[in-house]
Structures are given as C-alpha cells and as structure tokens.
C-alpha cells in the first residue's frame, strides 16, 4: 500500500494546486480557478524533503546482536517496554519511546495507549441519558422508568472502571445516573406499596 504524500496545497473547493503567491499572506486572496477567497498559512513541513528512510535490511554479523523477531537482521535498539533487541523495521517510536510492535499491540489491548484510540464509547453519558430521558419526556414515557432506572444503575456499575473520554472525565455522570436510577426504583416501590395498600383496603371494605 502506498500513500501519496502531499508537497503542495490544493484549493479545498476545486482541488486546483494553489500558487506560491497565495501562501502566507495576511488576508484572503481568491483561488485562481474558482475565485473562492482563501487564506493560507503554511509551515516548513510543506517544503521540507521527506525524512530519509533508514535501511532495515542490514544483516547481522558475527558478534553483533540480532533482532528478536528477525534473526538475520542487525538489532539497532532495545525495546523500552520489554527489553528485547529490535531491528530498524521493528522499532516504533511512540510517545518519545522506542518500542516493538508486540508491546504496542499489548499496550493497546490493555487500553494503556490513549493516543492510539480514535473512538471511545461514553458509557457515563449513555447511563445518564437513559436515566434522564424518561423524566424529561413526561407521561407516558415516564412509565419507562420501571426499566430505565435499573438499566442506568446496571450500566453505571458495569462500566465504572472502563476508560471514558481521553480528555479525562470525572465519575459525576455515573453517580448522577445511579442516584436518578435509585430514585426511580424507589418511586416504583413507593407506588407499589401505596397501590397494594389501596387494594388491601378495598378488599377489606368488601
């Protein structure tokens, strides 16, 4: 798989490569083709040549350490996580650390690499939404609290320790969801007791 590397700026509307005269000006200038006003601020990464790729096929010689994953290749560094010798191909630079692919994979599976996640379910918001929505929508949706109350508590407890947003969140939503869920259950218990009392009184009168 080859990814095309951009070394120029295209108009985001008509995809015309934009001339140098439009770059790093202090105000908007029209695109030469579609006349859309553009204001482009460029940085050195645009014109810098691509970094030289280190050859990874250096064979191991007598007395030299070989890569743990590729016996015939020369080791160039040590994985900072597991301490194995790794070659240039296996060396991954991540968060200012040099690690091997196996460590990267295991760390990711453990949920220890926030910077690799591209999506996260927000269980706390889900639980809170389930607890709040039937109350906001009033009758007849308020009857759904017989299900949503316990469900909100269940979701909150089940996902209490799971990682939430990478931006760092408190457990406040979980706590509110549990409180609301408990109130809903308490309300139903109260309604049940009152209803049962009325039924008993009706039968006793009869």
């Amino acid at each position: 798989m080859t990814a095309s590397v951009r070394r120029h700026i295209d108009c985001a509307r008509c995809n015309t490569p934009l001339p140098r005269e439009l770059i790093n000006l202090s105000d908007f200038r029209p695109c030469p083709k579609c006349a859309t006003p553009q204001w482009i601020t460029a940085f050195p990464a645009l014109v810098e040549p691509p970094a030289a790729v280190e050859p990874s096929d250096a064979s191991v010689m007598d007395g030299e350490a070989g890569c743990f994953y590729h016996d015939h290749k020369k080791a160039v560094t040590v994985c900072e996580s597991c301490g194995r010798f790794i070659c240039a191909l296996c060396r991954l630079e991540f968060n200012n650390r040099q690690i091997c692919p196996a460590c990267l994979q295991s760390d990711r599976a453990k949920g220890q690499l926030d910077d690799l996640d591209h999506t996260r379910p927000l269980h706390d918001s889900t639980a809170l939404l389930i607890a709040v929505m039937p109350l906001v929508l009033f009758y007849p949706f308020a009857l759904a609290t017989i299900v949503t109350g316990p469900l909100a508590i269940f979701l909150s407890i089940r996902h209490w320790n799971k990682p939430s947003s990478v931006l760092g969140r408190t457990k406040a939503r979980f706590i509110i969801a549990i409180l609301l869920g408990s109130l809903q259950i308490a309300g139903w218990i109260f309604a049940g007791i009152v209803g049962f009392g009325q039924i008993v009184s009706v039968f006793s009168n009869v």
Partner: protein
C-alpha cells in the same frame, strides 16, 4: 504504564445532538467529535502540520436569508399588533416568539463572515468542522501558530521558493479523470411537473373567476402543490448527469424556485391576513382567501399566468427534446437480401406450399 495526556481546550462548538471541539497537548492537536454516546478523535502532530487553510464562504448570507424567511412574518405580525388593543397575553406571546426568531438572526449577522477551516498534513486534509466563522478561525490560528513554529521553525521566503517547483510537478503528475458518461433518461417526471403546472394554472383561474368557498378546489390545490414538489424533486434527481438539454434542466430548477416562492407568498399572505383580521374576530378568519380582496386576486392572476407559461414552455421544450432524441437514435439495420438468396427463399416457399418443382 499509562500516562494521561494533558489537553487544553482551544475551541468548542455545540449543536443539537453533540459537539465538536479542538484541544491542544504538548505534541499535537486533538479534534474531538462528540455525539453524546461516543467520541471520535483525530490527532494532528505539530511537526506534521503543513498548512492551515481558511476558506471564506457565503453561509452567513444563506443563514440570514433562511432565518429572515422566518423572522419577517413574525416582525410583520408584531408590527401589526401595535396600537390595535390586542390582549396583553397575546402581545407578550408574539413578542417572545419574535425575539426567539430574531435572536439567531442577529447573532448570525454579528458573528461575522462564515468560513471552512482545513488543516493539511502530508497525508490528509481534514476539515476542522467546529470552526465556522472567520473571526474564530483567526483566533484559533493565533493560538496554534506559535506552537507549530516552536517545533518546525518559521517558513522563510527561500524555503517557499522551492514550493513553485513542487507545484509544477503536482500539475504534471495529477492525471485528469475521464469525464463520467451521461445518461439518457425518461422524462416522465418532467412531463408530470409541467402538466401539474398547467393544472395549477387552471385551478387558480377558476378560483379567480368563480369566487366562493370551494372545498374541492382547495383540496385539489393542496394535492397539486404536493404532487408538484414530489415530481419536481424526482425530475431533478433524474436529470443529474443526464443528456437532457441545459435549458430544460434550468427550467426544472426554475419550476422548483417558483413553487417555493408560491408557497412562501401564500404562507405570508395567510399569516398577515389572518392576524390582521384578529381584531374583528368572528368574521376575519373565514374571509381568508376571499377573492374580493384585490391582493388575493392579483396573486391568483399572477400565479395562473406564470404557471401556464412555465407549463407550456416546459412541455414544448420536452417535445423538442424528444424530437432531437429521435433524430439521434440509430436507425435499425436494413433487411436487405441479395437476389440469389431471394430466389432460393422463393423456391423454398414453393416447396413448402406444395407447388410443382422442375424435378
């Protein structure tokens, strides 16, 4: 060992059903799209950012027109209520409604021109969707530019001069995609649109010459309007990337614009007329749609004339388009038989019919 990256919020934009925000850490920008139940993240490392592009657009004007469409009747209603001795509760309700509509209209105008903001790296160009205003884009750029330059350095003029070489290469490298083939379409929807236009003109004319409360006609008008919208949208879908002549395509768009204008004018007239009649309740609302009203008569007259003109022109153009297609259609290959073959065929036919042969 997990180390939580510390982020600082740069910009946030909330909307119904979620929000988008931009955060910065020591090494990268984080674009967060929140849909209440989940968050998605895009990271842009400062060392990789090639350019920030701000592209101005006309969304502010579009928003102003759309909101104005709603605000205008409300303001007209409020203005007409002044000094007419309406109930105080009604006046307060109308004032609150007008203010609720007017607020986004004014906010849209005061927030400045709209834009789209893009961030380019060597492998992607990402739309920073939270940023929709030029003023906000400048503010965000002012915040992230020093961070990027502290890592990459400043882009000098001599470095920028090498960019011109790249652009020439880019122009040479990018092959032009072949044009997509056009489709030959059935013009059923178009025909229906213009026939409905003629029908609409006829009903308007009938309402003009025969004033009164015609419930059947009123229902027919509603059905015609809905059917016209449906057919028009169907026609617009059909004509996309088709061989249909450009004037005909433009006319279909004009028909849709005319329908929208007609609905808007009717809506405006109904509201103003109805609320203008509130001070003489009991006789007012039933009079809405009275053709003795000169404004209503004028609307009907103009509608019938324009609908008839659009319908006729459309049908004539469709007819011309059909003829053009017929002339372009390849004629079927001729069933020509050489003389020898024809003689052999005749002989075979004679055998089958039992005619005497020379043998």
């Amino acid at each position: 060992m997990s180390k939580q990256t510390q982020y600082r919020r740069i910009y946030r934009y909330s909307r119904l059903g979620g929000s988008s925000s931009i955060w910065e850490s020591e090494s990268h920008l984080l674009l967060v799209r929140n849909s209440v139940l989940a968050e998605t993240y895009r990271r842009f490392y400062f060392r990789d950012i090639q350019a920030v592009m701000i592209q101005q657009n006309h969304y502010r004007l579009f928003n102003a027109l759309t909101l104005g469409f709603l605000v205008l009747p409300a303001v007209a209603l409020l203005a007409s209520s002044i000094g007419r001795g309406w109930d105080i509760a009604a006046t307060i309700t109308i004032s609150i409604s007008t203010a609720a509509l007017l607020a986004p209209f004014v906010i849209n105008l005061t927030r400045g021109p709209c834009c789209k903001c893009f961030l380019q790296t060597s492998v992607q160009r990402e739309l920073l969707d939270p940023i929709t205003r030029v003023r906000d884009a400048r503010r965000v750029l002012d915040q992230i530019k020093p961070r990027i330059e502290s890592i990459q350095g400043e882009l000098g003029e001599d470095q920028l001069d090498t960019y011109t070489i790249d652009i020439a290469e880019a122009r040479a490298d990018v092959p032009k995609p072949p044009p997509r083939p056009l489709r030959v379409i059935q013009v059923t929807f178009h025909k229906a649109v213009y026939l409905l236009m003629l029908l609409g003109a006829a009903t308007s004319l009938f309402m003009l010459v025969s004033p009164g409360d015609h419930k059947v006609i009123a229902v027919s008008v509603a059905v015609i309007i809905v059917a016209s919208f449906v057919c028009n949208i169907g026609a617009l879908f059909r004509q996309f990337r088709s061989t249909l002549a450009k004037p005909l395509r433009v006319l279909t768009w004009c028909a849709l614009a005319y329908l929208c204008t007609g609905v808007f004018v009717s809506w405006l007239y109904s509201i103003v007329h109805a609320f203008g009649s509130l001070n003489r309740l009991g006789q007012g609302l039933s009079e809405a749609g009275n053709t003795h009203d000169p404004i209503y008569s004028t609307i009907l007259l103009v509608d019938s004339l324009l609908s008839a003109a659009l319908g006729l022109v459309g049908l004539l153009m469709l007819r011309a388009h059909g003829r053009t297609l017929e002339s372009l259609r390849p004629s079927p290959p001729p069933t020509h038989h050489p003389p020898e073959a024809r003689a052999q065929d005749d002989a075979d036919n004679a055998d089958i019919n039992g005619a005497p042969t020379n043998e």
